[in-house]
Amino acid sequence: MTLDKEHSPALDPGDVDDGKPILEIRGVAKRFDGTQALDDVSLALYPGEIHALLGENGAGKSTLIKIVTGVHQPDHGQILLAGELVTIRSAAEAQRLGVAAIYQEPLLFPDLNVAENIFISHQDRGSIVGWRRMFQEAEAILAELGVALDVRSPARGLTLAAQQSVEIAKAISMNVRVLIMDEPTASLSAHEVQQLFKLVKDLKRQGVAILFVSHRMEEVFEIADKITIFRDGRLVSTRRRAEATPQRAIADMVGREIDLLKARPTTARKDPILSVVDLGRQGVFEGVTFDLHRGEVLGFAGLIGAGRTDVGLALFGVEPATSGTIAVAGKPIVVRSPREGMKLGIAYVSEDRRQLGLILPMSIVANVTLPSLHRFLNRFGLIRTALERRTAESFRSRLAIRTPSVAVAVAKLSGGNQQKVLLSKWLNTNPSILILDEPTRGVDVGSKAEVHAIIAELASEGIGIIVISSDLPEVLALSDRVLVMREGRQMAILDRAEASQESVMTAAMGQRPADSASGRAL
């Protein structure tokens, strides 16, 4: 808070004169059960500009977005669209006014096909569905996006990246004046991000105003024209890109300075805890071979859909491998179910926190102890609630989970805190092998640094850690070695000296780096 004065806003939002704003927000405030989610926020958005919103989770970005898209109504304040005062009562109304949003969780209808998902909210397509035309148009839009998807296939079973592509296709298929993108890159790999940015720039050229929310600092500085920072429901600053620096932005966001992505000192020992030879699952991935040592962090890099998550699922027993061998601490083993994986000391922290990781309506306590509940029973088989609570409290202080109480339902927590609960849940099983799938997706900068610190600490305790991440800087900063996959195949294992953005991407794109042979030999 005290930092406010040192980093005073460089621009008063009203002073920025880029012609007439298309969207203007004046003094908007919103309160939820005692929390001031937004406090007197004013913001102007101009045609043909990309305006980034930064802030930790809970800073008020999502609330602002939901107010603009008509999901919530503001308690105070006004919204002007092209100079006219409007009341946006529903998402449908927002769409009629030319305001569309892409959310961080793709909102597709699994039973509808891709084309229909793209056009479902179009109100101008008449009351009869012209399937042939719809398929053609959908194909055209996806081709423009450079995405090869069968427009006739149902959305069920599409990968997150594919789902996000459909979301983007959906937004650009409408004649939008204002496009809101709430962390659209969270599940995209570097290559796909570039593809998306090309598209965003196209839209910008066409005069669309884009409100862009992301936790990836480098992306924001690559694409945004203006950067607005939120903290605790207030607008802290709005700056042009040229006048902003990442350090300053982060300081505004968290109210303190944070070192970003400093490489972790290695703690790896020459003591393989997990040895995988020629592992495969029919039709999904094959030929995966590596050793994981105690105290080592092994990064899994590659494009989305390269099979990294599938290897994790196979090791944990969710979708068991069909070929190859796995040895834990030198002993060959077979894993057929998560339960067996857990017994072997393997923990898998899912990328899909909300669907597969946590049970949202249940309390922090219940979530933390769920996989290890057998350790919390008294001799009558009843749950020792006091011990349970103590355990949850200890994780709360150890991982700095911010919550009024450990009895709170996990659904009420922010993304970063949910991620910490998820980590606690698996740390509580005392794993010797920890598989982290996208551990910082949807996690704000402050929490992200905390999660990285936790990973480093766990490694130093001797746990072997696999980090699957599409955030390449993160993989490079955390990992002792990086395993690169492509199309279900292992392309290379690069050690720290070899691993760089370029070498990893080259391998992920299918061109073997010169030194890959040595990498595979490991």
């Binding site: 597969l356 309506p361 769920l370 009895a407 849940k425």
Partner: protein, 322 residues
């Protein structure tokens, strides 16, 4: 912050207020209402449904449904009667009836937990099928003449004015409350009812727990069927037909979410008391079963509707204030 908890508490408060109101109205309306004999009667008349409602609560919290319970009750009663008529001593006949319940439960569980069919479809087939098997045993006959001790079991008080069925209900109530709210199994039932995928990823043996649920449900239904036979002293093929809807109504009135993961036994206990007192009061006021049915149907809708409408009204009011 503790919105869910508060809502649950509100639900039970609602049920409790309702119960007190009904009891007050009943005692004003009928001078026969406030007597021990009548209270025993009002329990006794629906005791088998109340017993099955306990396991139905667990099944629905686990995100599933068991429509076959009433048919399993009938099946168990028919198995007991048929084996008794064919010379088995009554205790053996009762054991066979309970075993029939377990077999029915295992059959449900196999299709639901291991083949992965929706429980609605499987137990709907069970509703038809188990009743059919009951018919095979008894055809158009009625079998009675059970040993005196067996009839006494259903009809005579054993503790104070309470019959065995009522005592069993209270024991099972405590047992299942402990299971649901204090044991690992209960925690896991809530987990799979809330998010079955996340539970599976947490190493919860979903198949095993679903098997437990359906076997428990069918076993308790079989027990209730046997107790029903003991109370009526005679068994026919149509025993307990149509009870499933009454049982599910009680569970839903108890604040259990049909989508799983939400609700508790205290709420269901109160809901059972509400229904029993309401039915009894209306019965004493000479209101027929048909009218009773729709009053309870209306109450079920109203009990969920009222808080929602109240919330809407409050929101509108609050909005004006600002």
């Amino acid at each position: 912050m503790t919105g869910a908890g508060a809502a649950l508490k509100r639900w039970e408060t609602l049920m409790f207020v309702l119960l007190v109101a009904i009891i007050a109205l009943n005692s004003l309306d009928s001078r026969y209402f406030l007597s021990i004999g009548n209270f025993v009667n009002l329990f006794q008349l629906s005791i088998e449904k109340s017993i099955v409602a306990l396991t139905m609560t667990l099944v629905i919290i686990g995100g599933e449904i068991d429509l076959s319970v009433a048919s399993v009750m009938g099946l168990a009663a028919c198995v007991a009667a048929w084996t008794f008529q064919h010379g088995a001593p009554m205790p053996l006949a009762v054991l066979l009836a309970l075993a029939a319940g377990i077999v029915a439960g295992l059959n449900n569980a196999f299709w639901i937990a291991y083949v992965g069919l929706p429980s609605l479809a499987v137990t709907l087939a069970g509703l038809i099928g188990y009743r059919g098997v009951a018919r095979i045993f008894l055809e158009d006959r009625a079998i009675g003449g059970f040993p005196e001790w067996f009839n006494q079991l259903g009809q005579q008080p054993i503790i104070g004015p309470l019959t065995a069925s009522i005592v069993i209900f209270f024991i099972l109530f405590v047992f299942f409350a402990v299971i649901l709210h204090s044991s690992a199994l209960g925690r896991m039932i809530y987990a799979i009812g809330s998010n079955v995928q996340a539970a599976r990823y947490s190493g919860v043996r979903v198949g095993l727990i679903k098997t437990d649920l359906f076997v428990a449900s069918a076993f308790v239904a079989a027990l209730a069927g046997v107790l029903y036979a003991a109370r009526l002293g005679s068994v026919r093929g149509d025993m307990a037909e149509g009870f499933e809807l009454d049982i599910i109504t009680a569970v839903l009135l108890g604040g259990v979410s049909i989508f799983g993961g939400k609700g508790n036994l205290a709420g269901v206990g109160l809901a059972i008391l509400v229904i029993l007192n309401l039915r009894n009061g209306m019965g004493l006021a000479n209101i027929t079963g048909n009218t009773q049915n729709y009053v309870i149907g209306g109450l079920l809708v109203f009990s969920v509707l009222a808080p929602n409408v109240w919330q809407d009204v409050r929101n509108t009011w609050r909005g004006r204030e600002i």
